[in-house]
Each structure stands twice: as structure tokens, then as C-alpha cells.
């Protein structure tokens, strides 16, 4: 009997739980077979390379300080511009009010 027919007869007579368990076993061994030989050495090499390429603590701290300084500068510039625009608008409004009140007092 050909192997494929024998396999299909086996799968027909097997109960669903057994069939599922068999499928899980195949799935796990299929996954395991995807690792090429020398996998542990590749992992260790890559891990060492990444550790060497990783920025130092001082570098990370300097980057954080620079980022915070830039953000602070941007907020300060934005705040200065907004408040000077608001001051100009307020001054113009007050001048209008002052001249209106001058006109009123002259009229009286």
C-alpha cells in the first residue's frame, strides 16, 4: 500500500483530539527545523555586535539633555512670540479706550 494512502486511512480513523495533537507536534517540529545550523553562534555574535554598537550611558544622557533643551527653547520662543503679540493687541485696545474716554471727557 502506498505511504500516502496509509497516512490518509490513519487520519480517517484517528479521533479529532489525536489528530490535533499530531498536527501540533508536526507544527512544533516544523518550526524547530527552520533554524539553520550554527544558530547559537550567530546569536552570540549578533549580541556582542549590538552591545558594542549600543550608545554609552553618557551618550544617552547627553542626547536626552539636548532633546530637553531643544524642546525648552522651542516652547520659550513660542511663548515669547505669543505674549508679545498679545501685549501689542492689548496696548492697541487700551489706546482706543483711552482716546474714547478723552473724547468723552472733552465733550462733557
Amino acid at each position: 500500500m502506498p505511504a500516502s494512502s496509509s497516512a490518509s486511512i490513519t487520519s480517517l480513523t484517528m479521533n479529532p483530539e489525536n489528530q490535533e495533537a499530531k498536527a501540533w507536534a508536526i507544527l512544533r517540529s516544523h518550526g524547530a527545523a527552520q533554524l539553520a545550523p550554527g544558530f547559537p553562534d550567530r546569536v552570540l555574535r549578533e549580541s556582542l555586535a549590538r552591545a558594542a554598537a549600543a550608545p554609552s550611558l553618557f551618550g544617552q544622557f547627553a542626547l536626552s539633555v539636548a532633546t530637553a533643551a531643544l524642546c525648552f527653547l522651542a516652547v520659550a520662543i513660542f511663548d515669547a512670540r505669543t505674549s508679545s503679540a498679545a501685549t501689542e493687541t492689548n496696548q492697541a485696545d487700551w489706546q482706543q479706550i483711552a482716546s474714547a474716554s478723552d473724547n468723552l471727557s472733552q465733550a462733557q
Binding site: 479529532p16 501540533w24 508536526i26 507544527l27 518550526g31 524547530a32 533554524l35 547559537p40 546569536v43 549578533e46
Partner: protein, 182 residues
């Protein structure tokens, strides 16, 4: 090394935590097949197994020093693998949103010869319908982990594990149809 022997495993972990490369290599050799099988169950893609497995073990080496209880190594390692797989699947989902791929690229078929049996194909198809979190749960059960160990891996209660496992199994059975039944 027999990873099931707790004392030997704890000793191995201590050596690896001290930075002994031979101990780190031994851990990778002991767990690589199980982790690869777990990753394949989570992602369903043969071509990403090695990349993700590499990421998992690199993370393991870097974070090993922070593992306080070496006896909890296995649940910790599988949690690392689960989280790495979930991150990978999330990134893939985002990439599909932002890259102008057509629908024909959404499910690129496995390379020829990658799926070799009807049972495996049916199981992969069924797993595809589950959330990655539920796939992880089922894969951990297949790893022979107890409910308590799974609860420790997923940082949840045993009751929650039982309930989620029940739901995941129901869903899997709903979609698991080997060819002769369909």
C-alpha cells in the same frame, strides 16, 4: 544539559548571568527548538522563525542579569518569546497599513515545501483565526506548561488562564477542519 533538572538549570542561569558565553550558548542550544516551534505557532510563517528566535535570544542575553529568580527562567523566556512575537505581528499590521501593498500581498503563501501535511495546514489555518494572545496560550499548553506556569508567564490568575484557554480551544475547534472533514 537536561533543562528539566532544576538545580542544573539554576546553576546554568547563574553562570550565564555572570556573562559566561559557554553557559549562554548552552541555554540557546537547550531551548532553541522549543522557542522556534513556539514562534512558528504564533506567527505561522516559516521565514520569520529564525529572525524572531534570534531577537528573543538576544533579548534574553541582555535581560538575563535582571532575572531575580532563576527557577522562573522558563516562564520568563516564553514570556519574552510571546511578547517579541506579538510586537512582530503588530509591526507587520502597521506596515500593511502604511505601505502601499495590494490585497494580494496580505497573505503571501508559504514557500513551496514549507507546509508538508494536511494536518499542519489545517492547524495553521485554524490558528490564523485566533488572536495572537490565544495562540500563545495554546502553544504554551502544547509546550507542556501547567496552568500555574502559564499564569506566571502571562502574569495573570489561574482562573483567567482556564477561562481563556477554554475559549481559545473552542475557537480552534471551530476552525480546525482537516481536509477529510470539510
Amino acid at each position: 544539559m537536561d533543562p528539566s533538572s532544576t538545580a542544573a538549570l539554576v546553576d546554568l542561569i547563574h553562570r550565564a548571568q555572570r556573562g559566561e558565553e559557554s553557559a549562554q550558548r548552552e541555554i540557546i542550544i537547550s531551548y532553541q527548538r522549543r522557542i522556534a516551534g513556539f514562534i512558528y505557532a504564533m506567527t505561522g510563517r516559516s521565514d520569520s522563525v529564525e529572525d524572531i528566535a534570534q531577537q528573543v535570544f538576544i533579548k534574553m542575553i541582555r535581560a538575563l542579569g535582571r532575572l531575580q529568580a532563576p527557577s522562573q527562567f522558563e516562564p520568563w523566556l516564553f514570556r519574552l518569546a510571546r511578547n517579541t512575537c506579538i510586537d512582530h505581528l503588530r509591526r507587520q499590521k502597521l506596515r500593511r497599513i502604511f505601505l502601499p501593498f495590494g490585497p494580494e500581498h496580505e497573505n503571501v503563501p508559504e514557500p513551496p515545501g514549507a507546509v508538508d501535511t494536511e494536518e499542519l495546514d489545517a492547524l495553521r489555518h485554524a490558528l490564523d483565526h485566533l488572536r495572537p494572545q490565544d495562540r500563545a496560550l495554546l502553544a504554551l499548553v502544547q509546550e507542556g506548561r501547567s496552568h500555574a506556569e502559564i499564569a506566571s508567564t502571562l502574569k495573570t490568575s489561574i482562573a483567567a488562564v482556564k477561562a481563556r484557554l477554554h475559549r481559545a480551544r473552542e475557537q480552534l475547534r471551530e476552525h480546525y477542519q482537516p481536509d477529510h472533514e470539510s
